[in-house]
């Protein structure tokens, strides 16, 4: 190779140094770019799943409208048949897929992210999503968002694996995929990011939160371009006339906080009850479908995730008696679907439960105090937020989610109060939450324990930019030109010798005569710090702070060069590590 560098090349290096000295955080910028790609992938997998579900739904029901309208238009026998056959197909999918691993749980949100190393089983995830596809399309009382998020996370996990990302970034990619899935499922970019940060990562540290925001926003933009930008639950405009009106909302918060453990307990109970039947997957899910079908004969409103029901509570609630009846039927249908082991999310059913509970409370409050001018519809909105906060144990996400779902600013204050009241009440009654249960079942404690034992060696990856000690000065300049790093690691025969700092040589880049006089060994730092694979993450952070670099070499005790670890990966790991009580 000709060691002489052209004047143009040297100018490029100067520009690169100039930029490098003014803009720091190369690694984080790269992470944000990957997060944007994760958002794009997440959005398209979500769109694909939604479209595929609607297509299958029309195939089963002969209708292209929503679940409730489709079921209402069908004769009684078909209302029973469709969910039963759907459950059977979903069960058979799981049954044959269970040769990979038997599934008990249905709340599949978290597994995508809390799986530990960010590597999802492609076959198992596809089996679950296919099963969820049958359930969701045939009217099971469960949310589509579970498989939708799982698919999105799976796609980003595969991308991370293909790019050979180290553990921390791999997990971050999966988290970004999940955030993108939620954001595109609910048209809620902020809540998507907060959901993963608050419930999964348990951290709002900017290192982890920033990429989630980027992927959520990208996913939402793509989804809006496809489906439109309307709020998911457009609600009538709500106005707070007097401050004291907040009092009944606080009471509603308390009620939701007290009701959430009952809801969670009922879901758990139904799961245990179905488990006691000791049926194979296909029979259990078919039975769940049959129960939903039987309930749908009387009230086709019980089918689907409950989105239409929330919408009707906000706009055309009807009589409270009818609503109460549908509420009871819907709860039973959700229990039957969830308990039977259908794959899906319970997020939307939770929203419906809160909305119905809030509305009924509002009707009662308005009847007790007719002169106060209370609006039961507003209580429905507040109930959604408060019940979600209590059931998920994530009040911040619940408040933001409710705002994004309704785009109703006036409702925010009552929702904030009621959500906090609901959260504390629920926590004082039970430590259980929608996702904590799911995580516990999936062995998240074991995952957290495993993560606590991980060391620097687990985050290490290959260094594409090592240089020989005999490399001429021109080659060093060339390598810096093609790299975004401030240090080149000098490695000879697998042994780490030192590092060349761009800062040390930047003033001499325009000296072509040095290009043959000076070799890498002449300008390398012998005392460049190295990490050991068995080093803890926090100790490694001290090293990063001391050197002021974003990437450090990892060597064994005999100076054998093993790879590199970036500061971003360590920060992402620490920010994304599940809490020990998760």
């Amino acid at each position: 190779m000709n060691p002489e560098l052209s004047a143009g090349a040297r100018r490029l290096v100067r520009l690169r140094i100039w930029l490098g000295e003014r803009i720091s955080g190369n690694e984080m910028r790269a992470t944000l770019l990957w997060a944007a790609l994760a958002g794009l992938i997440g959005a398209w997998t979500s769109i694909g799943f939604k479209e595929a579900t609607e297509w299958l739904h029309s195939l089963f029901t002969g209708h292209y409208s929503g679940y409730v309208a489709s079921f209402a238009a069908m004769p009684w026998w078909r209302r029973i048949l469709v969910p039963t056959v759907g459950g059977l197909l979903a069960g058979l999918t799981l049954y044959f897929g269970s040769r990979i691993k038997r599934r008990r749980s249905t709340t599949d949100y978290m597994e995508a992210v809390v799986v530990g190393d960010g590597k999802l089983s492609v076959r198992r995830s596809l089996v679950k999503c296919s099963s969820a596809w049958f359930s969701a399309a045939t009217g099971a009382s469960i949310g589509r968002e579970g498989p939708l998020v799982l698919l999105s996370a799976l796609a980003t996990s595969m991308l991370g694996r293909w790019l050979k990302f180290p553990l921390a970034r791999q997990r971050q990619m999966v988290a970004c995929g999940a955030a993108a899935g939620i954001a595109s499922a609910y048209n809620a970019p902020v809540a998507g990011a907060f959901f993963v940060a608050e419930i999964v990562l348990g951290s709002l540290a900017m290192d982890a939160f920033g990429p989630l925001v980027v992927s959520s926003v990208v996913a939402t933009l793509v989804t809006r371009a496809h489906f439109g930008a309307e709020a998911m639950y457009t609600a009538p405009v709500f106005t707070l006339h007097q401050n004291w009106e907040l009092l009944p909302y606080m009471l509603l918060g308390l009620l939701c906080g007290a009701a959430a453990p009952l809801f969670l307990g009922f879901l758990k109970w139904s799961e245990i009850a179905f488990g006691k039947l000791k049926l194979p997957d296909w029979a259990r899910l078919a039975l769940g479908g049959l129960i939903v079908g039987l309930l749908a004969v009387a009230h086709p409103e019980v089918t689907g995730n409950g989105r239409i029901l929330v919408f009707s509570i906000l706009h055309y609630p009807g009589t409270w008696q009818a609503l109460a009846m549908i509420f009871l039927f819907k709860i039973v249908a959700t229990g039957a679907t969830f308990g039977s082991g259908a794959v899906g999310g319970v997020f939307t059913p939770t929203l419906y439960t809160g909305a119905a509970l809030g509305y009924l409370f509002g009707v009662a409050a308005a009847a007790l105090f007719p002169s106060w001018g209370l609006e039961p519809g507003a209580f429905g909105l507040v109930g959604m937020g408060a019940f979600l906060a209590a059931a998920t144990g994530a009040p911040v996400m619940a408040i933001i989610m409710l705002f994004e779902l309704t785009l109703n600013y006036q409702i925010l204050m009552p929702v904030m109060l009621a959500s906090v009241m609901g959260y504390y009440t629920c926590r004082s009654l039970t430590s259980r939450s929608l996702y904590k249960d799911a995580l516990a079942r999936k062995g998240a404690a074991a995952v957290a324990q495993h993560l606590a034992t991980l060391k620097i060696g687990d985050l290490m990856h290959e260094d594409p930019g090592t240089i020989s000690p005999l490399a001429p000065f021109g080659e060093i300049v060339r390598q810096f030109m093609h790299s975004t790093q401030d240090f080149l690691h000098v490695v000879d025969d697998g042994r780490f010798l030192g590092a060349i700092s761009l800062h040390d040589i930047k003033s001499y880049l325009d000296r072509p005569e040095l290009e043959t006089l000076v070799i890498a060994q002449d300008v390398m730092r012998y005392d460049h710090p190295t990490l050991l694979p068995e080093m803890s993450m926090t100790k490694a952070l001290d090293f990063f702070a001391r050197v002021g670099t974003q990437r450090l070499p990892v060597t064994d005790a005999s100076s054998r060069f093993l790879g590199v670890v970036t500061e971003t990966d360590v920060l992402l790991f620490l920010a994304g590590k599940p809490r020990s009580n998760a």
Partner: protein
């Protein structure tokens, strides 16, 4: 940062009679004996010879810049020698007449690059190299180094 400020106190040896690369370097190392900046003369010699084996730094036009980064010196030291007859350096046996030998402390990267860059710039000045090669005595030689 330790840096070579001036060549006024630099030992200069003209009319060297040595005929091999190794003897030229050893003789020039001896010029640095007794200097306060040199902690270990033998170690300096060993380091320079070892660096020569890797890839002898040759500037062209009969100029060599043997050097080593070593803990044997506390500041950059320089010794200058001129051979009476060209001496073959390196595996390609490049004929050398002017030798600038540097000892550089291990932590002193910028200072070393600065010194080498200054020297190469000086030698590129028209007439300087010829003047150094033909200087009749040390005083005249030093004048052209400034």
């Amino acid at each position: 940062m330790p840096e070579l400020k001036s060549t006024d106190n630099t030992p200069v040896l003209l009319w060297m009679e040595d005929s091999t690369e190794e003897t030229v370097i050893k003789r020039m190392i001896q010029l640095l004996a007794g200097r306060a900046e040199v902690r270990d003369l033998r170690e300096l010699e060993r380091a320079v010879l070892e660096r020569q084996k890797l890839q002898p730094p040759l500037l062209g036009n009969g100029v060599a810049l043997p050097h080593a980064r070593t803990t044997a010196v506390t500041e950059i030291v320089l010794a200058i020698g001129r051979c009476r007859e060209p001496v073959p350096f390196g595996p390609d046996q490049v004929p050398i007449r002017l030798v600038f030998l540097y000892g550089v402390p291990t932590q002193c990267i910028g200072g070393y690059l600065a010194a080498v860059a200054r020297l190469t710039r000086l030698l590129k000045t028209p007439g300087t190299l010829d003047a150094l090669l033909t200087a009749p005595d040390e005083a005249n030689f030093r004048q052209h180094l400034r």
